[in-house]
Amino acid sequence: MSSIRSNPERLSVLDHPNSYIGRTVPRPNLDRLLQGRGSYVSDLELPRMAHVVFLRSPHAHAKIVSIDVGAAKQIPGVIAVVTGKELAAVITPWVGVLSHLKGLKSAPQSAIAVDRVCWQGEAVAAIVATSRAAAEDTAEHVVVQYEELEAVTDMRTALDPATPIIHASLGDNLAFERIHEAGAVDQAFAESDAVVEADFVFGRHTGVTLEPRSVVADWNAAEARLTIYQGTQAPHMVQNIAALHLGLRDSQVRVVCKDVGGSFGIKVHVYADEMATYALAKLLRRPIKFVADRVESFNTDIHARDHRCKGKIGVKRDGTITAFEIDDLTGIGPYSMYPRTSAIEANQVVNLVGGPYTNKNYRARARVVFQNKNVMCQYRAVGHPIACSVTEGLIDLAALKIGMDPVEIRRRNLIADDAYPCASSSGLRFEQLSHHASLTKIVEMMDYQALRAEQARLRKDGIFRGIGIASFIEVTNPSAAFYGVGGARISSQDGVAVRLDAQGSVICQTSITEQGQGSESLTAQIVGSVLGVSMDRVRVMLGDTDMTPYGGGTWASRGAGIGGEAALQATKILRQNILEVAAAILQASPAELDIVNNGVVDASDGTPRIDLSELARIVYFRPDTLPPGIRPELMATRHFVPREYPFAFTNGVQAAWVEVDTDTGFVKLLRHWVVEDCGTIINPQLVDEQIRGGVVQGLGAALFEKCIYDDRGQLTNANMADYLVPMSGEMPDIDVGHVVSPTRESELGAKGAGEAGTAGAAAAVTNAVNDALTPFDTIITEIPLTPQVILTALGKI
């Protein structure tokens, strides 16, 4: 690991000899998962629990003429069959808009469709029975009469006057439009030596978390409280929304989130069927379990990235980029998703295009349109893969046009490492990035010159290999600028409470959540380091709105940077409190003492003075022996949110080395490299594995993953056999390197790392494939890069 900035004086609190910061240590509590003894929501059973199955619309757009539930209600084991109209008495509809996305509009959405369905898969009735099998059997006896309506499926014609309007009250199918103009774009293009244009096409794909979405909702009528067990990334957000729409106070709703079988943004939203499950529990006064099956997941988990983006770049002969222009179109399904809205991705695309480069001339338009397809919303690295693919694709095209090496053109345009703080042409503010150090490092790691030589040599034998490079920026540590300013009650701050218990063990409650990233580990590492106790003494509790401080949860790469800083600050206070008590007991001053290895020592020479367990014994059981006036507080709480910068931008670069079989159209991934700068690294192994996992999700999008709809809005590959996901056989080994520029917004200095992998992978692979195919004089700007796409480009089919 290399460091371009070191701030030893800032990190003094973490400078303990036994600091866990920057060390690879195994995550606590992994044995539970390794022995199959985790508790995922799908494992949960409660007394009197019933199961719900949703009858879903087979049509993309239809009027519900009638629903006959008579026969279904008679079937043994059936507890209730509930239609949208009946459920509407318990839960109110919602509209997914945010006020800072000016002009964003959407229509009211109900937990279960009331008189019209707007996508194939929208629920029309809920069948509640004593077992899921019984409920599924019963679903076949619910008779629904539909009157099919014309479906709006192609986003390119969604705004045409001849296309039906999905929600008449909205006037048209345009959900959101944003136009951005900076600098003198026309003049810049006119003064360019070359101008290149391309149409980029991105497949609609989805998260495919291995555990499908699962909820158990339990209404306790005696307490008038609803407990929601759900695999979610944002428990307090779910609490607030469930309460709001069921007419409850927040304090009447508890959200518990134990183990979660994958999330990636899929589980940061609140879905209609989940809302219906909460409402059914209240209506039927018993615990109700909903576990999506895989077909339902494909039809109802949010989709992402259905974009077509026209891009244009101007360049001088010496490689200087003069201007970028984009026109992005995206289809989001029939509703803007609640509460985060479906306009964020397009907005991000406008924000991020051209982001790593010094160019000042930038024009962008993004339009977001409604369609009769499943809803589309935020999924890992929201908008980043689109923006990165467009930007990096255009840069490679420009390089090709002027005959410049792809690494060289980047070197000439990336923002200099000493130019910060500065801003992008879309107005993003950068605190400190390290594009050049990162590029230099990756070129070294991959041995760029040797690969170029190998490429040339093999090309003579008819073997076509290519190198693709993609620099990127990533939004992490979001402040209130993301949702709060738009009126959404999604907390951007996180809180941590940490306490010393009677036997000297440390309990820490945090509002960030764990879905496998290692939130528990990084929290325990920080608390252990700052307090001076060993990690095995620290127990981290999370994922329970009754037990943790209020906070945002884990999304947008914010766990370490925001939750980690809150843990650091809370622990500093606790440490000070402990030292004050110790000083009173030892008749010393706090400044003369330190905590090392679970005990209070002399700061000067490390002589042990009193063990923390002994100190705790005195405080809790013999406070009468303490000097008068001492009020020992062995618990401290702190919250944190970045204030100066709305986001902590990270940066990085990825490189792919691929081989294209020009006869079959198959792409073989040979190697992949990433250099990333996420600021302070708390646990190197966890960061590397987040990046690897993220890269593979990006590679899935690049090569395999696509939700394929027909003209009538039917999803034709809604199963794991037909929707291809990356498996171990096709994935390459991925080398990860780091540059470290800590953020000065926090004492910890950590930025996020969860999405960097996904942000740049597809761009690197697409550039590599085009590089491999240079002898064939063809350029592909569409993903996934299926054999069909490649053979078509080669004119072979």
């Binding site: 199959g36 003894r37 291995l210 966890l686 594995e689 996992g693 056999a721 994935m731």
Partner: protein, 161 residues
């Protein structure tokens, strides 16, 4: 729907007698009837491998097998392999290498990996990738899993010589 059928089998070494509907699959039987929730369901159509268990010593996808087909067999699940200590070293390697994130694929991965290691003492990385290519992991990107399996094979080799 037909009537329940009596089955008798051993699960993790314990005798189990039950009456099950003929259509009940083995995964649901293990999870719902025996409350052995370590066997996970990711797809319920035979693609993801999360439900992998051992029946008569061979790994199978328990979502594709009926409980009645397991009559008279010995079924082993992740709980059984954990308690017997058979895969303690493999689990330790997974832990040290962070070869799991959400952990949902992990029971199936461990079953499949142990199956390979019983067949072959020192598989090459490609062979490990190939053998595990029926087990989907969305979180890790696989490399850490391959590393952990490789490390376990090496350790077992060293212990044997």
């Amino acid at each position: 729907m037909t009537a329940p059928v009596a089955i008798s089998l051993s699960v993790n070494g314990e005798r189990v007698e039950a009456h099950v509907l003929p259509r009940l699959n083995l995964a649901d039987f293990l999870r719902e009837h025996l409350e052995l929730t370590g066997t996970h369901l990711g797809c319920e159509h035979g693609v993801c491998g999360a439900c992998t268990v051992r029946v008569g010593g061979e790994i199978v996808r328990s979502c594709l097998m009926l409980a009645v087909q397991a009559n008279d067999t010995a079924v082993e699940t992740i709980e059984g392999l954990s308690d017997s200590g058979e895969i303690a070293d493999l689990q330790a390697a997974f832990r040290d290498r962070n070869a799991l994130q959400c952990g949902f694929c992990t029971p199936g991965m461990l079953m499949a990996a142990q199956d390979l290691l019983r067949e072959k003492r020192m598989p090459a990385r490609d062979e490990i990738r190939e053998h595990l290519s029926g087990n989907y992991c969305r979180c890790t990107g696989y490399q850490a899993i391959i590393d952990a399996v490789e490390a376990t094979a090496r350790m077992r080799m060293e212990l044997k010589v």
